[in-house]
Amino acid sequence: MADDLAMTNGKNPEDWIRLISTDGYSYLVKRKVAVMSGTLRNMLNNDFAEAASNTCPINERGIIVEKLCEYLQYKYTYENAAPRQDGPDFTDRIPPEIALELLVAADYYET
C-alpha cells in the first residue's frame, strides 16, 4: 500500500481512472493499476487536465486499449509477487493480429 501511494503521488490508489479510446470505448482501471504505465503516471501525477478529471484519452483503437489495460492489471498483479512465483505467460494472450499495433502503443505508454 505504501508503494501504491508513492506511485500515485499521494492520491488515492483506489480511484477509478477512465481510459477512452479513439473509437469511443471507455475502460475503467484503478489508479494503482494505471500508474504501471510510465506515460499514464506522468499524466496523472502532474497538473494536467487528465489528472483533474481522472480521464485519459488514449490515441488507440478500443481493442488495443483493452489489451493495454489487461497488461497493466497483469503487471500490477505479478510485479510485486514473490520471486519465482511466475504468473501466467502474457504472450499467449496477445493475438498476433494486433501485435504490431500494440507494440507501438506499448512503446508510447512505457509499459
Binding site: N9, N45, L68, Y71, Y74, K75, Y78, E79, P83, R84, G87, F90, T91, I94, P96, E97, I98, A99, L100, E101, L102, L103, V104, A106, D107, T111
Partner: protein, 597 residues
C-alpha cells in the same frame, strides 16, 4: 598457530587462486615425487613447433578461439612434457613463487611449534620443495597411535575417521557417534569462490522484472514473422514507428528484421542493427534489391563480407548512412565505391580505417556526390581535404566533425577547402577541430558561402567572442547576394563565446533560426539570453545548457516568444528553477532544482 578446532584462518589470494585452479599441496607433492624419480628429457623442440604453428594459424584466422591462444602464450617456455589440452598450468615464475611461499610457511611453522613435528619427516625432504604445513591437521596424532578419548577416557586407536572434540581432545568412535557426528561423512567440499559477476550483483535494481509489453509484442511478432496473414495489414501502419519501438529494446534480430524488408522498398532505416550478423546484413541487401536510400544505425558487426555482397546486390543505391562500420577495411570501401558510381550521399560516423585512399576512390568514382559525412573518422587529416575540394560546386552537405585527432586538420587547410566548396554548401559541420580559429570565419566562411543554412562549429576553442561577433555583424555585407540567415546554429561547448557573439548571431540570423545550441557559453549575460525568445521567434529547439546566467526569465521569453518551441535544454543552469514557465508541447529538460520522480 596450534589449532584447537577445524576453523581455518584466511588464506592469501594466491593460495585461493591456486586452490581454485586445482593446484593443491597434494598435486605439488606428487609432482615433486615424480620429478625425483625420473626427470623427463626436455622435449621442447616438437611441442614448441606445434605451438608456433598454432599461433601462426591464429594470426591468419582471426576467429580462432582466443582461449586457446591465451593458454599457449602462457606456456611458451614450458619444458616438461604436458598434454596440450591440460586444464591449466603454472608458469615457471608462479611455480617458483609458490615454492618460495611454501618454504616460508614451513619455516615459520617450524619456528613456532617445534615439538609438534617429531614425526613429519621433513628432515629428509628438500626444504625448498617441502609442503606447507597449513594443509594438514598437525595436531592430530598419527593413525594407529593409542590415545585416550577426551569424553569417556577409554583408550582407542586413532584412525583417519577420528574427529576432534569441541574441547580440543579426541573422541573415540562410539562417543563420536553418540555426539551425533557421522565419522564416515566426507569433509565438505572446499567452498569455492563465487564467480565475480555474481558477487558484484547490484541489488538496487529490481531483479524479478516482468517482461515489458513491448518485449512480448516483439516476441509475438517474431514468432509469426513468416505468417503474413496473422500479422494483419502491415502496410497501413507506420513502419517507421514500429522500427523505432523495436530498436528501443535492441530487439531487432535477424528473424524479425524481415518485417521491414520488401522487394519494392526504396527506403530502409533500421535504428539499431546491433544484433544483425554479417549473413543477415547480406540477406538485407538481397531481399531489398531496389533500395536507393539505406540507413543503418549501430551496424558495428558489418564487415568486409557484407560490403562485398552489397557491391552486387544493391545496384540502385544512391544514399547510404552508416553509424559505426568499424570493421570495414579500406580496400573494401574502395571496391564499394567502384561498384556504386551512382552514390550521391555517403554518410558514415565512426570508422577508424577509412583512409585517404578511400576518399580518393570515393571522389573519383562517385562523381555526383552531394552529401558527405566523415564524422569521427580516425584518420581524417590535411591530406583528405584536397580530394574533397574536387567536389566543388556540387557538395551541399559536408560534415567532417570530431576527427580522431583534434589537431589533425589545420586552420589553413579548412579555409582552403571552404574557398573551393563554400559556394554550394547548405550544411557545414566542422565541430571538434581544435585548430579552427577566427581566421577561418573571415577568410573561409565569410567570402565564400552563398547559401549556408546550417552551421555547426562546436568544441572549437580557438574561436573568440569578439571574432564571432564581428563575423556575424559583417557577414551579410560580404558578398553581393549575401548568405541568407542561418536556420540552424550549433556553436556549443565554446566557453570563450559570450554576449557579444550571441547578440550578433541573433541580429544576423534571429529571424530564421529554428535551432540554436549555445551550450557552455558560460559568460553570456542574462539580458542577452532573455532576448532569444523575442528575436528568434521561429525557434524549435534551444540548448542553453551551462549558460550560467540563464534564468526562469530566459525560459519565459522562449515559451512566450516562440510558438513552435518543442524543446529547451537547461542542463547546468542553476538559476532555472522548477517554477519556470511551461507550456503544453514544450519539454524543458534538465532543470537541476527539479525533484525527479
Amino acid at each position: 598457530m596450534a589449532r584447537s578446532n577445524n576453523v581455518r584462518g584466511p588464506t592469501s589470494a594466491l593460495t585461493e587462486f591456486l586452490k581454485e585452479s586445482g593446484i593443491t599441496p597434494t598435486t605439488i607433492a606428487r609432482r615433486v615425487r615424480t620429478r625425483q624419480v625420473e626427470q623427463p628429457a626436455p622435449v621442447a623442440g616438437p611441442s614448441r613447433q606445434a605451438e608456433n604453428d598454432e599461433s601462426a594459424e591464429a594470426d591468419v584466422a582471426e576467429n580462432d578461439e582466443p582461449v586457446e591462444r591465451e593458454y599457449n602464450s602462457d606456456n611458451l617456455d614450458e619444458d616438461d612434457e604436458v598434454p596440450l589440452k591440460k586444464k591449466r598450468k603454472l608458469t615457471k615464475a608462479a611455480e617458483a613463487k609458490l615454492k618460495a611461499q611454501a618454504k616460508a610457511k614451513a619455516k615459520k611453522g617450524k619456528k613456532k611449534d617445534d615439538d609438534d613435528y617429531s614425526d613429519d619427516g621433513s628432515d629428509e625432504e628438500d626444504a625448498y620443495t617441502a609442503l606447507s604445513k597449513m594443509w594438514k591437521d598437525e595436531t592430530k596424532p598419527p593413525n594407529g597411535s593409542l590415545i585416550e578419548c577426551s569424553k569417556c577416557g577409554n583408550e582407542f586407536s586413532v584412525t583417519q575417521y577420528t574427529r576432534q572434540a569441541p574441547n580440543g581432545g579426541w573422541l573415540c568412535h562410539s562417543c563420536l557417534k553418540a555426539s551425533g557426528v557421522d565419522p564416515f561423512k566426507k569433509p565438505a567440499a572446499p567452498r569455492k569462490r563465487k564467480p565475480l559477476t555474481e558477487k558484484r550483483n547490484v541489488t538496487h535494481f529490481e531483479e524479478h522484472r516482468l517482461p515489458s509489453l513491448a518485449n512480448m509484442c516483439i516476441k509475438v511478432v517474431s514468432s509469426h514473422i513468416d505468417d503474413v496473414e496473422a500479422l494483419g495489414d502491415i502496410g497501413s501502419m507506420n513502419l517507421d514507428s514500429i522500427a523505432k519501438a523495436i530498436a528501443k529494446d535492441r530487439s531487432l534480430t535477424p528473424e524479425n528484421a524481415t518485417l521491414f524488408y520488401d522487394v519494392q522498398n526504396t527506403n530502409l532505416t533500421l535504428y539499431d542493427a546491433t544484433n544483425l550478423t554479417p549473413p543477415s546484413l547480406c540477406a538485407l541487401a538481397s531481399l531489398n534489391p531496389n533500395l536507393t536510400t539505406l540507413r543503418l544505425d549501430f551496424c558495428g558487426r558489418m564487415d568486409n563480407s557484407v560490403l562485398a555482397a552489397w557491391n552486387k546486390s544493391l545496384p540502385a543505391l544512391t544514399r547510404i548512412e552508416l553509424l559505426g562500420p568499424f570493421l570495414v577495411h579500406a580496400s573494401t570501401w574502395q571496391s564499394f565505391f567502384e561498384s556504386h558510381p551512382k552514390l550521391t550521399g555517403f554518410l558514415i560516423t565512426q570508422s577508424p580505417r577509412f583512409d585517404v585512399k578511400c576518399i580518393e576512390s570515393l571522389v573519383e568514382n562517385c562523381e555526383g556526390l552531394t552529401e558527405l559525412r566523415l564524422k569521427e573518422v580516425g584518420k581524417l587529416a590535411d591530406d583528405f581535404l584536397p580530394h574533397i575540394k574536387k567536389l566543388a560546386g556540387q557538395l551541399t552537405y559536408l560534415d567532417l566533425s570530431s576527427p580522431g585527432e583534434p589537431e589533425a586538420v589545420s586552420n589553413d587547410a579548412l579555409t582552403d577547402l571552404l574557398t573551393a566548396v563554400g559556394a554550394g554548401l547548405r550544411h557545414l559541420d566542422l565541430s571538434g577541430h581544435a585548430l579552427l580559429g577566427d581566421g577561418f570565419l573571415f577568410q573561409g566562411l565569410k567570402p565564400h558561402t552563398r547559401q549556408l543554412e546550417s552551421l555547426a562549429l562546436a568544441l572549437t576553442p580557438e574561436l573568440t567572442d569578439a571574432g564571432v561577433a564581428e563575423f556575424f555583424a559583417t557577414w551579410a555585407g560580404a558578398a553581393a547576394p549575401p548568405n541568407p540567415p542561418l536556420r540552424h546554429a550549433a556553436l556549443g561547448r565554446n566557453p570563450e563565446l559570450g554576449g557579444a557573439a550571441l547578440a550578433a548571431l541573433l541580429a544576423h540570423s534571429g529571424a530564421a533560426l529554428e535551432s540554436v545550441d549555445v551550450n557552455g557559453w558560460k559568460a553570456a549575460p542574462e539580458d542577452v539570453l532573455n532576448t532569444l525568445g523575442a528575436r528568434a521567434p521561429r525557434l524549435r529547439r534551444v540548448d542553453v545548457g551551462w549558460c550560467r546566467e540563464a534564468s526562469d526569465w530566459t525560459v519565459k521569453a522562449l515559451v512566450e516568444g516562440c510558438p513552435d518551441l518543442v524543446e529547451v535544454k537547461v542542463w547546468g543552469c542553476q538559476r532555472v528553477t522548477a517554477n519556470c514557465p511551461r507550456k503544453r508541447g514544450v519539454a524543458v529538460v534538465g532543470i537541476e532544482a527539479q525533484n525527479f520522480v
